[in-house]
Amino acid sequence: MTRALDVLVIGGGPAGYIAAARLGQLGRKATVVEKEHLGGECLNRGCIPSKALIHVSSTYRHLRDHGEEMGLPIAENSFDVGAMQRWKTSVVEKERKGVETILKGNGAEWIRGTASFTGPDRAVIESETGKEEVSFQAAIVATGGYHVALAGMEPDGKQILSAREMLELDHVPPRLVVLGGGVSGVELGEHYARLGSQVVIVEMMPQILPGIERDLVREVARTLEGMGIRLLTSAKAEGLRKEPAGVTLTVKTLTGTEEIPGDVLFMTVGKRPETRHLNLEVAQVALNVKGFPVVDDRMATSNPRIFAAGDFARPPMLAHKSYREGIVAAEAAAGLPTRWSHQAVPSVIFTVPEVASVGLTMADCEGKGITAREARFPYAALGRAHANHEEKGFVKLVAEEGTGLVLGVHAVGAACGDYISEAALAIEMGATVRDIAGTIHPHPTYGELLGEVALLWLGEPLHVAVRKSARGNP
């Protein structure tokens, strides 16, 4: 018995559930197959739980470091890891229910199980109730990515931990070795350092957070090192020894070989698209040399019935990119004229200080032959930054010489992940620096930084090197 489905959505993460919701809006019926919880990595073992924990530890650390001066002293180690975990879990569970409601509200069906293709327009779904053969009008594959580990260092749940397990620790490991200085390695390494872990971050590239501009990273690295985190860059993991008392990682650096002891090792060296178990060959979905499916700008694969979205489809592996691809894939699957036509994908790293970036850097402009100029405005010149005791950081604006078109904004400092949206809008809208400078930014907020850096770019700065507190309240 083959059941005829309308649209089969494989994966209930950000790309999958958003695609299902959009299909519902378009009057199509989505059947979502998800083997774990709805919400995918982002909601269950990524963005959301990590932010719940990071918010608590950074609040603690801020008060520990500045509380006395600001009038809210806090005792050393006055945090409760158990309560922190319960808080995180409550947030995740609330969000999961939210996703379930979204699916229901859009008439989508959720099957807890796995799916693999048995032909270009058919698949088999395995769930608790057994195997079910289905055919589909269209399918959207959004299975996400899986974390890779170095050979011989696969997470064991005890001494070698994955991101999922790092988010569930019921204690603060005294010595933590982080293998991989990418986003999650740095975010979670910093989190445990705030709570007292001695942390070493080992990164193969010459800098942590590879791919992010060096001056932004330098600002983060200074803070990390200031709180005692050791950053070992250009360092390659050579081997790992497990002992009863912990692990020892052998690392080859530019200067020699070093042994790094720790209680646990956090393995976070990267992700690959989850193409295993899908039987994509039978579905006539071609993969490129990097293992991602070949997709067009409607997210269609080489099989015109099958679409891809999210981490499975292509980098960068970011939840908000997945959402948008889910929308495009759903619209395309429903036969609407649609296209990925976004100008830029913002990215945010939730360190303290935060890092946010959207659009082109000066180096990008050079590569593309665009004549651009950059202005840089410091947090230290912003009233609100002083009031919050978060004076570290700066924001950079890249705009085209002559036209003044906004091409990119890159920031490190408090709240930049929030105000970066304004920069993303500017780029999508083709706004000029004059447009940003001509917009009133409410005082006193971090958002003012964009208005100020725009004025600075135009050569009309009003606040650089002049502290707001010295000018009185306008």
């Binding site: 979905v285 071609a286 490129n288 409607r298 609407l336 036509s341």
Partner: protein, 440 residues
């Protein structure tokens, strides 16, 4: 190292593909994943990304050439080896997401500075809906920004596309080229030599444009020639009074539109055709020229000729005899929408037993449709308009009139049979109540 790239198996079980377009040329520095080429297989256009970082050394297949799976396409001088398929060391997987826009596998080549389209997300969305390439629209806003009005104006044909990159000087081929040695006495075709017109200083519009017959255009060209060469075409035209049909549809239209069904005349005509084919099965047939047989079909798959930006396609409403008028309407709408954006499966584009070609409101007085070979009949549908008519009482009146042109293969269907079939269709469309009574 030298890296040779061969046509990969791009699915659909196809053995070969046509090189539609190269996005790179010899000497280009290329990055991994940048758009490399478009390949057309049967009906699907596939974008192939560049597999390596390096430089293009040689291109082995010309645009328009058919290449077999495994056939050599292009040679690169690659920088290092291509990325290994699995993580073997610390270095393989990307450790962190890149902050910039994702390398979209099939997006147009990353546009250098001046190619940038400056507009808003809402205009981009609208352009997608209209199928307009914004790179062709001239923006009138600050810094060349494309406004909603610019787009709508362009779409209505109000503004000319931004000047396309015209070839610097369209040079006609020297008259002897290609003919020498093959009978040089043949007179060379006179190619008008473009002379910059004094009245239009600076105008660089070429006097001729050569459009290669490629992709869908080639499929159409071959198909039509085969049809004309094999079938013994004749065309028969009839005039219908569809006043009652217009009334019936007008009454029902709104109710159906609320349910999202565009109740088109075409759906009524399709139904009338199917019911009439049941009485005249010889027209629901195709020629098996190899065996010298007429294959009469007892299923009713109606092909609907549909114009798309790339050319004519014929999506198929399967088992139309088992579907209601409104379901047929819905299906035609769906097929043509997806057809216009090239998203129909091969299955949806093959297997028709009878074809209808309608130009809707445009559709003139009569036509001589070319058969959708090897089918034996194709019906052309013309516009409905008010015309003066002589009524049964001898007086003059005004009625909604419509013409039908049917082309038939005389090898299979004689004139008398064709005329009888059209009479049956006419009877149903002139008295739609009869048609509605026939419904299951």
């Amino acid at each position: 190292m030298v890296y040779e790239f061969r046509l990969p198996d791009i699915g659909e079980g196809v053995a070969q593909g046509e090189v539609v377009k190269w996005h790179v040329k010899v000497g280009d520095a290329v990055a991994e994943d940048q758009p490399l080429m478009s390949v057309l297989t049967d009906k699907a256009n596939v974008e192939i990304p560049c597999p390596v970082k390096g430089r293009v050394v040689a291109i082995h297949a010309k645009e328009g050439e058919m290449v077999k799976v495994g056939g050599l396409l292009i040679t690169f001088e690659a920088e290092g080896a291509p990325a290994p398929p699995r993580a073997e060391g610390h270095e393989a997987p990307p450790a962190s997401p890149a902050p910039a826009a994702p390398p979209s596998a099939a997006a147009p080549a990353p546009s250098p500075g001046n190619d940038r389209v400056i507009t808003t997300p809402s205009v981009r969305r609208r352009a997608n809906e209209l199928g307009v390439d914004l790179r062709n629209v001239k923006g009138t806003g600050p810094g060349g920004r494309i406004t909603e009005a610019d787009l709508e104006g362009f779409h209505r044909g109000g503004s000319a596309p931004a000047a396309p990159a015209a070839p610097a000087a369209p040079t006609p081929a020297p008259s002897s080229t290609g003919l020498a040695g093959r009978g040089a006495s043949l007179p060379a075709p006179k190619v008008p030599v473009p002379v910059p017109s004094a009245s239009a200083p600076g105008a660089t519009v070429p006097l001729q444009e050569r459009i290669p017959i490629r992709g869908l255009r080639r499929v159409i060209a071959e198909h039509m020639s085969v049809s004309k060469a094999h079938a013994a075409h004749y065309t028969y035209v009839e005039e219908l009074d569809v006043s009652e049909l217009v009334r019936v549809r007008e009454r029902a239209k709104k109710r159906f539109e609320e349910k999202g069904v565009p109740l088109t005349y075409l759906s009524f005509i399709t139904k009338a055709v199917v019911e009439s084919l049941k009485e005249h099965p010889r027209l629901n047939a195709y020629m098996d020229d190899e065996k010298g047989e007429i294959v009469v079909c007892h299923y009713y798959n109606i092909g609907i000729a549909t114009a798309t930006p790339d050319g004519l396609i014929v999506p198929v409403v399967r088992d139309a005899d088992k579907k209601s008028i409104s379901n047929i309407a819905k299906e035609i709408e769906d097929l043509s929408t997806r057809g216009r954006v090239g998203k129909l499966s091969r299955e949806e584009l093959t297997g028709s037993t009878f074809t209808i070609s309608s130009l809707g409101a445009l559709g003139g007085l009569l036509a001589t449709p070319i058969l959708n070979y090897p089918e034996v009949a194709i019906l052309g549908v013309h516009k409905i308009e008010r015309r003066p008519v002589v009524q049964s009482d001898g007086g003059f009146g005004v009625a909604h009139m419509m013409n039908l042109s049917i082309s038939l293969d005389h090898r299979a269907v004689d004139g008398y049979d064709g005329a009888q079939f059209i009479a049956a269709v006419k009877a149903r469309l002139e008295d739609p109540h009869q048609l509605l009574l026939e419904l299951r």
